[in-house]
Amino acid sequence: MLNSLQSTWRKVFRRKSILGLCLIWMWSGSCRRASPPTIAFIPRTSGTPLWEPAHAGAEMAARSTGTKIYWNAPTREDDVQGQITLVESVIDRKYQGLVLAPDQALALITPVRRALSKGTPTVIIGSPLPIPPGGRLSYILNDEEEAGRMAALRVGQLLAGKGSVAILGVNPDIAGIMVRAHSLETTLAERYPGIRIVEKRLGSFNFPHDQQIAEETLRANPNLNAIVALTSASTRGTCSAIAHNPKMQFTKVIGFDEPDPVLLLRESELDSMIVQNSREMGLGAVKTIAAQLRGQSVPPEVRLKPLLITRENLASPQVRQALYMEWWQP
């Protein structure tokens, strides 16, 4: 009696065990839903009016391509080591793609090559690295030649083809800046021979340093008509130098990469800003990686035309969309 009961119990238990294992397997299968591919997006810094639109563009592309974005950056644009550390950690975490706006052209070569060697599709945005595109590496760059040309045309328009101009913020650390400066100079020489470039100074990521350079430039050139500040720091430094020098209020500034509408509205000496279209870069970069993940071919290099932002077009739909920072909004 007891033996038969025991036997029945064993059979039932065995069946239940098999059933339980099946249920566990089915449950784990249903829970192990394929997670969307995650793309690491590392801009030069984050939380700024220049790079938050890139975040918005990236999230928009992620929603349309079924991918996820990991977003992080150093707290300063010149924290090259911080960005290298971040890229290295991203490589180790095996994300399915990498979008990088390099803080420095040379120092990021090795980490990017390492990412490529691990098979990570990589898109460099903003300014290029000295690695030829192809394979898993693509570029979506700011058209620096066009940026320099736009600045030259604006200067020519402001000065009516005659006057003096200084170029500040030349920074060889960022590959595109040299192209930008070269294009500005050649366009001015070709289109406006009456405009003289009286000063050309190196810049940094340091506001006071760039302000000091601007002050020195203004002192050396008391009749200076315009300043083209090629970087964000030199734009702010130049505006500050002019604001503290009542005698130089007539000098107009054309800034770069500082798309803060408040600055444009507040600083009267700031005529206009030329900014890279970081939103389109973020959008395009994520779409490029998603296409690569699907096995589609992608263009090795794309150059995007920068935006000229003035007080007049600040409220235009095109500019508002380009500067839109609310990345979480669909």
Partner: protein
């Protein structure tokens, strides 16, 4: 049904019951764990006032304890200090907060996880006081900031002023309130999310502005707490009062010191042209004049240091200004160039911008030792050589890299734990201000590093593993393992022998119950047949007598075999009495005198040795009784220091041991002696009796004195065995 079957039959029932109980316990543990986790550590109250903050973990910033508060004197964007458990769910956190600068914010985090260095690199909720637009800001970050609420605080938000901030998270509802403690004005803010973050740590955070936190406490919260916070009405101050001008984001002069009593006129200072710091090294020391420089604050305590693209300088202020690391400042003062350093005396400081701290320059100790990086924020590596506590409880680390030695100085407070944990010979990476001033170096090292916070120290690699202590530990562990292996081996051998002995005993019982009984029965039957036969049938009687004799002989042999197999006497009474008993049994009814004696201190003999000696002794006794016709038999067991000697001596007819006398019995005795590494010696001559002696080694007594000798002997034996193996197997692949 036997009892045994019943028990086995019930076993599955017990088994299932046990499994059920275990499952129930696991289920309870599983379901209660989140509850326990949610409650673990709550309520929480900081111990900043006691000078400890071991539970806090920094991500960016320069977090330090000072005057019972936690201070971040850095303008880093998104500096965080985290504590608590990621399992905390519904709770409130509150603290008193003071901002240290304009154009930034400072506040509290709840339900945070996945924190990293970076501006918005965490996943959780943040409520902060923002000077830029004088608001209480509330929102969510998921590696990107999503602002939900920005409520204007009447009276504005000013730096160096205490506010009380409270943040409650219950369910998917988040509420915050900010109170201006001086004006007693409170404003609430609330948000809710459909897909909310349900749990996470607490944290302190600042953005582009340093901050001071005190009285941080967290405790469980309910919807009632949430409602109480949400129902708070904004203060009824007039709209005019509420309109607070936005803080200037352009260069400000808030940190400028008073000009009163200044030897240089205000106009003189204003007309100065800013210079590079490096250029001030050429300044005249005979006629000190004012100079103006611009740069970034790299250190505020114990002294103010600034840096520009060309170098760094120490700043001796006329009046200390509330500055933070990362602030971009303009300094007007009298430069005092020294051998390797520059000091700006009687300095006036003007705050230009608040920005994130600059990254350090990576240099080597040899480069730093040149003095070229004085007053500069650098990063370098070094091996920890020493630790000491200096004046004012500062923590001083002695370091070495290459041929250069240097020191790192850390303020007391949060660094205490790190200081205790650091081990000498570790490779460390430091970020700090390189200073060559002899006031700090005391001319002991070429330079010192002044650290901003304990987070400026990173352990790259721990000390090398092959230290003297670890080697001693390895040797000790190896010895213990050898001993354990030896003991295990002995135990296994013991168990094996016991099994053999038990099997023999079983066989003896079987033989006694079957063969011996059968022989007795057969003998009885034969005797009965013989009794019934007539005397005239003499041939049959002879055959029966012969058969009876054979049966008796076989019975005797069986009894002897049983006596030989039955070893229980060995364990119970010992080797010598067992041999004596065996001998007496063999000579039972005869005239042979058996004498047994022992010498030396009796000691336990290993089972294996005892068994072998017993067999050898039995064989020797049996041989003597069977073949030597002795009148006396002496059994001697002699215990010596490291061996035991068994001697069996008889006064029988003896035999010629030199000739072909190695019968099966003697061969067995030799083999048994070899198996226990014993020496067997048989001496006999015709008419002179026989002397059988076996000397077996005994294991040493395990005392501290004999241990090393024992291990040495063990390895010697191993070595000699290996040599023997190689000698006997010259072509073996088993090297």
């Amino acid at each position: 049904m036997s009892v045994r079957t019943t028990i086995f039959g019930l076993r599955p029932v017990l088994k299932f019951g046990l499994i059920g109980l275990l499952g129930l316990a696991a289920g309870l543990l599983f379901f209660s764990k989140p509850v326990l986790n949610r409650l673990a550590g709550l309520p929480y109250q900081d111990s900043f006032a006691a000078g400890t903050a071991d539970e806090w973990h920094a991500l960016g910033g320069t977090w330090e304890l000072a005057d019972g508060t936690m201070r971040n004197e850095s303008d880093e964007r998104g500096a965080k200090l985290m504590a608590g458990s990621v399992h905390w769910r519904d709770y409130a956190v509150e603290a008193d907060i003071q901002l240290l600068g304009l154009d930034g914010d400072a506040g509290l985090l709840v339900r945070s996880s996945d924190e990293e260095n970076g501006v918005d690199s965490y996943n959780g909720y943040y409520a902060g006081l923002r000077t830029h637009d004088n608001t209480l800001v509330l929102g969510r970050a998921d590696h990107g900031w999503i602002e939900n609420q920005a409520i204007l605080l009447p009276g504005g938000i000013r730096p160096f002023h205490w506010y009380h901030l409270k943040l409650v998270a219950v369910g998917c509802e988040i509420a915050a309130s900010a109170t201006d403690t001086l004006r007693n004005v409170t404003i609430p803010a609330a948000m809710s999310e459909k897909d909310c973050k349900p749990n996470g740590r607490i944290g302190l955070r600042s953005y582009s502005s340093g901050g001071v936190w005190r009285n941080v406490r967290a405790y469980q919260a309910t919807f009632a707490d949430l409602e109480a916070l949400r129902s708070k009405k904004p203060s009824a101050e007039s709209a005019d009062q509420a309109k607070v001008p936005a803080s200037p984001s352009s260069p400000s002069t808030t940190a400028e010191s008073s000009e009163a009593g200044d030897s240089a006129s205000v106009s003189e200072r204003q007309t100065l042209v800013a210079q590079e710091i490096a250029s001030l090294r050429m300044a005249s020391t005979a006629h000190p004049t004012l100079a103006k420089v611009r740069g970034v604050v790299v250190l505020t305590s114990p002294a103010l240091y600034m840096q520009d693209a060309t170098g760094g300088a120490a700043v001796m202020e006329v009046q200390a200004a509330p500055l933070k690391v990362g602030d971009e400042i303009e300094v007007t003062g009298k430069p005092e160039p020294r051998d390797f350093s520059l000091v700006l005396r009687e300095a006036k400081v003007r705050l230009l911008w608040t920005r994130a701290p600059i990254p350090p320059l990576s240099v080597t100790a040899a480069q730093a030792a040149t003095g070229a990086f004085d007053a500069t924020f650098v990063e370098l590596d070094g091996y920890l050589v020493s630790k000491e506590v200096g004046a004012g409880n500062t923590m001083i680390l002695g370091l070495q890299k290459g041929e250069q030695s240097f020191r790192a100085i850390m303020n007391p407070g949060r660094g205490d734990v790190l200081f205790r944990k650091l081990k000498t010979n570790s490779l460390l990476r430091f970020r700090g201000i390189c200073v060559v001033d002899s006031e700090y170096t005391q001319n002991l090292t070429p330079f010192v590093l002044l650290l901003r916070s304990p987070d400026d120290v990173a352990v790259l690699t721990g000390p090398p593993w092959w230290s003297a202590g670890h080697l001693a530990a390895i040797i000790a562990i190896a010895l213990i393992l050898v001993l354990a292996a030896q003991l295990l081996y002995s135990r296994v051998e013991h168990w094996r022998l016991r099994a053999v002995l038990e099997e023999r005993e079983r066989l003896a019982h079987e033989m006694h119950d079957t063969i011996a009984q059968s022989f007795a029965g057969i003998g009885f039957q034969l005797q009965a047949i013989r009794n019934d036969l007539q005397e005239k049938n003499s041939a049959a009687l002879r055959q029966l007598d012969l058969a009876s004799e054979l049966v008796r002989h076989s019975h005797d042999e069986a009894r002897r075999s049983i006596a030989t197999l039955r070893p229980e006497s060995l364990e119970s009474i010992g080797l010598l009495p067992a041999l004596e008993r065996s001998a007496r049994r063999m000579v039972d009814g005869g005239s042979v005198e058996v004498v047994a004696s022992s010498r030396g201190g009796e000691r336990p003999i290993p089972v294996r040795t005892t068994d072998a000696l017993y067999k050898i002794g039995q064989e020797a006794i049996a041989n003597a009784i069977r073949h030597a016709q002795p009148t006396s038999l002496h059994i001697l067991l002699d215990y010596e220091k490291d061996k035991v000697r068994l001697a069996i001596e008889d006064n029988g007819i003896g035999f010629n041991a030199g000739h072909d006398s190695l019968g099966f019995g003697l061969q067995g005795m030799h083999k048994r002696a070899e198996s226990i590494s014993a020496a067997l010696d048989i001496k006999s001559e015709s008419g002179q009796g026989t002397h059988v002696e076996v000397i077996a080694p005994l294991p040493p007594r395990f005392t501290l004195k004999v241990w090393p000798a024992y291990i040495w002997q063990y390895f010697q034996e191993r070595r000699s065995n290996a040599q023997e193996w190689e000698r006997t197997h010259p072509y073996s692949y088993r090297r």
